[in-house]
């Protein structure tokens, strides 16, 4: 009896290992394919029907960063280094602006009490329910009238201006910091401003790092907003729309391998940052819970 129970458990565990193994393979395989084929020597979309590349080379990465057009490309060429720089600059600026506004809004809603607080929070909730690109389209016209369409400034504005609406997570964190700290500081003569900068912010490192990382990653992964604002002029593209351009019907046959290489180049740092962010997120949420 005992033996058969053990046997059954072993059997079911083996089965689970098998299923999990296969699933992991399914989930990892496309990425493995991506990496392997970005290193494939011969160009083109497919490698004569072979799933595994026969010869490996770093040439596509070198071409990508040198901005070399692949052989057979027509007059219109794509310039990845510029896109990479664009995205980096946009990400840095919007990261600073959105982090500041998210922290300011969430601190105000969490620690300060004023008449229209509830009403403002409700408005923020309702604004969040509209489909995102209803506003994007109008934003495009607005930027066009301001003569900003197709520029990087427009992207920075778009990414960072709505950021204040995403205050929930950091507000949740600030909510868990005991109010006794504020009161003690107030008795000692600190103003609200000093409490924010000298007491609350130093205690909120995980959530600050989380906010910084999310707003930095945003421009790298956003696709649709950049596409709407940038239109057809490829010089100011970000990596996301640039990579999509590489596999559009016009460029696919020549730029396919650079697309693979570019995807790897973007995905690796973003993946690492994301894993870091996840860690800080968990830390922030659990640390907040303990304090409250």
């Amino acid at each position: 009896m005992i033996k058969s129970y053990k046997f059954r458990r072993h059997l079911s565990n083996t089965l689970i290992y098998l299923i999990l193994g296969i699933m992991c393979l399914i989930w990892i395989m496309p990425f493995a394919y991506l990496v392997l084929h970005s290193l494939r020597l011969d160009g083109g979309v497919i490698d004569n029907g072979a799933l595994l590349p026969k010869q490996l080379t770093f040439q596509h990465y070198i071409d990508l960063f040198a901005g070399n057009a692949p052989s057979g490309a027509g007059a219109a060429t794509l310039y990845f280094p510029r896109w990479f720089l664009n995205t980096f600059v946009v990400a840095c600026f919007s990261c600073v602006i959105s982090t500041l506004s998210v922290l300011a809004v969430s601190y105000a809603f969490s620690r300060l009490r004023f008449g229209i607080r509830k009403r403002l929070m409700n408005i923020a909730m309702i604004l969040g329910m509209f489909p995102g690109f209803m506003t994007m389209i109008a934003m495009y016209y607005l930027l066009k009238i301001m003569k900003l369409d197709g520029t990087l400034v427009a992207l920075v504005l778009c990414y960072s201006c709505g950021a204040g609406l995403g205050f929930q997570i950091s507000k949740g964190f600030f909510d868990t910091i005991p109010r006794a700290l504020d009161e003690a500081a107030t008795i000692d003569g600190a103003t609200k401003n000093q409490i924010f900068w000298k007491i609350i912010l130093p205690m909120s490192k995980p959530i600050v790092v989380y906010t910084v990382l999310t707003s930095f990653i945003g421009p790298w992964t956003d696709f649709i907003l950049a596409k709407i604002i940038m239109g057809d002029d490829t010089t100011n593209y970000t990596v996301a729309i640039g990579l999509q351009k590489m596999i559009s019907a016009e460029f696919r046959s020549t730029y396919f391998q650079q697309f693979m290489a570019g995807s790897v180049v973007v995905a690796v740092p973003i993946t690492l940052l994301f894993l870091k962010m996840q860690k800080y997120y968990v830390e922030g949420v659990t640390a907040g819970g303990v304090k409250g």
Partner: protein
């Protein structure tokens, strides 16, 4: 039904009970919802009434300087020696008047007709000169801007009156007005929220609220990319009529209902397939006796971490006619590449492919959140069940499953609403393909939001008015869904919380 009776039901009876309860509560929830809206409207008008009362009574009670500040901003402040504030108020008035004279008034004048002058040639001094026509879009946008600015100035106007009256009272009590330095210090302490919030609110007003108002207004015009490019008119509810009226406006309404149906199927299929499959995998990973838990979890988390557009574009390439999947199929097909067009060929194939790929994208998210919940189920529940002789299957259906469903219901709803708006998966995979000739600028896999995109930014026939109307309908659907279910799930929690 009492709590004990409820506990005796099996899983399916409970589900049926909760299902029935949900729909029985639905009218009540809807009623509460509309009552809340009604109350909000009443509060709004009461507030306006109070405002008028304040406006009148302050005028009666105010001295001559306060009365004068009803016309000249900041006069009351200036008279009570609060110079900097008075000057600021006065500046606002001057700027606003200039703004109106040189810019705003014209826009407001053209707002009812949205412009009438087309591009034409005039004879000036015997030479023909092309005169630019008006652009309705510009007029509408500028008029919206004027209205928003006017509202802001109105708020400043009211606060100017309040300030004038406050300083009058202070003078009567023999108090001195505060100095600039004291006020500045107050903005870092008592009024710190103003300092913190003013910049984000300004940005949100310009880049979220203004465009939103503009797009809502567009829904009531006939702005489209074919016949009304420069000049368009107000058409009232015609766009909504076109979407909902099956008889008269056959093609648009047919497209709307067809796409709305597919959106619903898509949202349900995508949500539940992710939920159920993700739960199964999470259970497998977290099963006792399974080693390498961390490794498996990391494998799945990595696929979340890769930017979604990379994984989706990659998938679209793998599924292309000359992509890797067809090569794998060729391997089983005796070396002949079948060239299956997963994403653009047959409607059913494309739809199934989209749902399956969405599983590939979405399941890791479910695993991540479920793993956390599974680890939080108290171990002693299982312990006592085992001592009572419950089989593993019984413990699963009686403990794990109810617990999971209870904890994750709110999340399920958010996912559902998210899937209605899931633009990325559809757009990056199929872009709506295969095209449907019976639809108005849409394909078989288009959902409402991608159709909205096609109509406003995509290629083909563009109809901005229709697109905005769709956006408003999507908003109404999502907002009602979230509000009703939010109310309901809260009441559910109170009634039968797992403890």
């Amino acid at each position: 039904m009492t709590y004990v009776e409820y506990k005796q039901l099996n899983f399916f009876q409970r589900f049926a009970f909760n299902f029935k309860k949900f729909f029985k509560n639905l009218p009540g929830a809807l009623g509460r919802f509309f009552k809340a809206i009604g109350l909000a409207i009443v509060h709004f008008f009461v507030g306006i009434g109070k405002g008028f009362k304040f406006y009148g009574s302050t005028f009666v009670k105010g001295d001559w300087a306060t009365k004068l500040s009803y016309v000249i901003f900041g006069f009351g402040c200036f008279h009570k020696k609060k110079y900097y504030k008075g000057i600021l108020y006065f500046l606002v008035e001057c700027l606003y008047v200039l703004f109106l004279v040189f810019f705003g008034a014209e826009q407001l004048y053209w707002l009812p007709t949205l412009g009438t002058i087309e591009q034409h040639t005039e004879i000036v001094d015997g030479f023909p000169v092309t005169v630019q026509g008006q652009k309705s879009m510009q007029i509408l946008l500028y008029a919206t801007l004027t209205i928003v600015v006017t509202l802001v100035v109105f708020v400043i106007y009211i606060s100017n009156i309040k300030d004038a009256y406050k300083h009058q009272l202070m003078k009567e009590n023999g108090e001195k007005p505060t100095s600039l330095r004291q006020d500045a210090r107050d903005f870092l302490d008592g009024k710190y929220h103003v300092t913190l919030l003013s910049f984000p609110i300004l940005m949100i007003s310009i880049f979220n609220i203004l465009p939103l108002i503009f797009m809502i207004l567009i829904a009531f015009t006939n702005y489209n990319g074919t016949t009304h490019i420069n000049l368009f008119d107000w058409v009232g509810l015609q766009n909504f009529g076109n979407l909902l009226n099956v008889i008269d406006s056959a093609k648009k309404a047919q497209t709307f209902f067809g796409i709305a149906g597919w959106t619903l199927i898509w949202a349900i299929a995508a949500t539940f397939s992710n939920y159920i499959l993700g739960m199964i995998v999470a259970l497998m990973i977290n099963k006792k006796g399974i080693k390498l838990k961390g490794l498996f979890r990391t494998m799945f988390v990595i696929t979340i971490a890769v930017p979604q557009f990379v994984s989706l574009l990659l998938m679209s390439q793998l599924l292309a006619e000359d992509g890797a999947f067809n090569m794998v199929l060729a391997f089983f097909n005796g070396g002949v590449n079948p060239h299956v067009n997963f994403l653009g060929g047959d409607a059913l194939t494309a739809r199934l492919t989209v749902i399956i790929v969405n599983c590939w994208v979405g399941i890791p998210y479910t695993i991540l959140s479920m793993s956390g919940i599974l680890m939080n189920i108290p171990e002693d529940l299982y312990e006592s069940a085992r001592i009572d002789g419950a089989s593993p299957f019984k413990t699963f259906t009686k403990i794990t499953l109810p617990y999971m469903i209870f904890v994750t219901t709110p999340q399920l709803i958010t996912t559902f609403v998210g899937n209605i708006n899931n633009f990325n998966v559809i757009f990056l995979l199929t872009g709506g393909a295969p095209a449907n000739p019976d639809y108005f600028n849409a394909g078989y896999t288009d959902i409402l939001v991608t159709w909205l995109y096609n109509l406003s930014m995509g290629s083909g026939l563009q109809d901005y008015g229709l697109a905005s109307a769709i956006g408003i309908l999507v908003f109404i659907i999502c907002a009602t869904l979230s509000l009703i279910i939010y109310n309901n799930s809260k009441s559910m929690k109170d009634e039968e919380a797992f403890s």
